[in-house]
């Protein structure tokens, strides 16, 4: 009887731990996968990885994006994707990305705070 009770308690306890672990993972999943994001960021380096790189016509530095805030990055990439934010090169990049890709990229970039 006692053994059954303690076995039940153990099962419940394990379930509770599993549930909280799952909840923690679910929060991360709501953000994105930094590893997958890092692979996608390879493309960004062509402009954003060259120190002092200038946008042409008009001329201004392309922004530093490493360490930028997650939610802002998601919003910016989504706006480029939909065309709400107008930049030909970034529109083309945004169009090639799924919403999950965007979350992954934002997760990686926001993680490399200086």
């Amino acid at each position: 009887m006692t053994r059954t009770t303690s076995a039940c308690a153990l099962i419940l306890l394990t379930a509770a731990f599993a549930a909280s672990a799952f909840a923690a993972e679910a929060i991360d999943a709501a953000k994105g996968d930094a590893k997958a994001g890092k692979a996608l960021v390879y493309t960004c380096g062509g402009c954003h990885g060259v120190t002092g790189y200038m946008n042409a016509y008009p001329n201004y530095h392309v922004p530093r994006i490493g360490g930028q805030n997650y939610d802002y990055l998601v919003a910016a990439l989504t706006e480029y994707k939909t065309g709400q934010r107008n930049h030909p090169t970034m529109h083309a990049q945004g169009e090639s990305l799924s919403d999950q890709d965007i979350r992954n990229i934002a997760t990686y970039l926001s993680s490399i705070v200086k």
Partner: protein, 116 residues
């Protein structure tokens, strides 16, 4: 950090060919409005501020470009449209340089290495 105000004065001086530079104290007064969302240090560091970009250490000409676009409506954001509308070209330049000179958490990706 110690030299940031000096750099700012120097850079303001260089851009002053077409306009009188704005005294640093005046720039700080203007920048106080930005702090509510972008933080006093320009780093938008609280979780609630994650929706706003970090400005500290961003390229000054990119920041100026953004403010001009908000002002013209080329870049649409209801909050920033209201903020940028009253700014003169000289004020945009001064504010951009002020935030660009702050200690930064931003980085370009020049040290980015592909792979695990």
């Amino acid at each position: 950090m110690k030299f940031a105000p000096l750099l700012l004065v120097a850079s303001l001086g260089m851009s002053a060919a077409h306009a009188q530079p704005i005294p640093l104290e005046k720039v700080k007064e203007k920048a106080a409005t930005c702090a509510a969302c972008h933080g006093a240090d320009g780093n938008s560091d609280t979780p609630a501020q994650s929706q706003y970009p970090r400005l500290a250490g961003q390229y000054h000409d990119y920041l100026a470009r953004a403010l001009h676009e908000y002002k013209s409506g080329g870049r649409k954001n209801p909050i920033m449209a209201g903020m940028a509308a009253p700014l003169s070209d000289t004020e945009i330049d001064a504010l951009s340089r002020y935030f660009a000179a702050m200690p930064s958490k931003l980085d370009d990706l020049s040290r980015h290495e592909q792979g695990d």
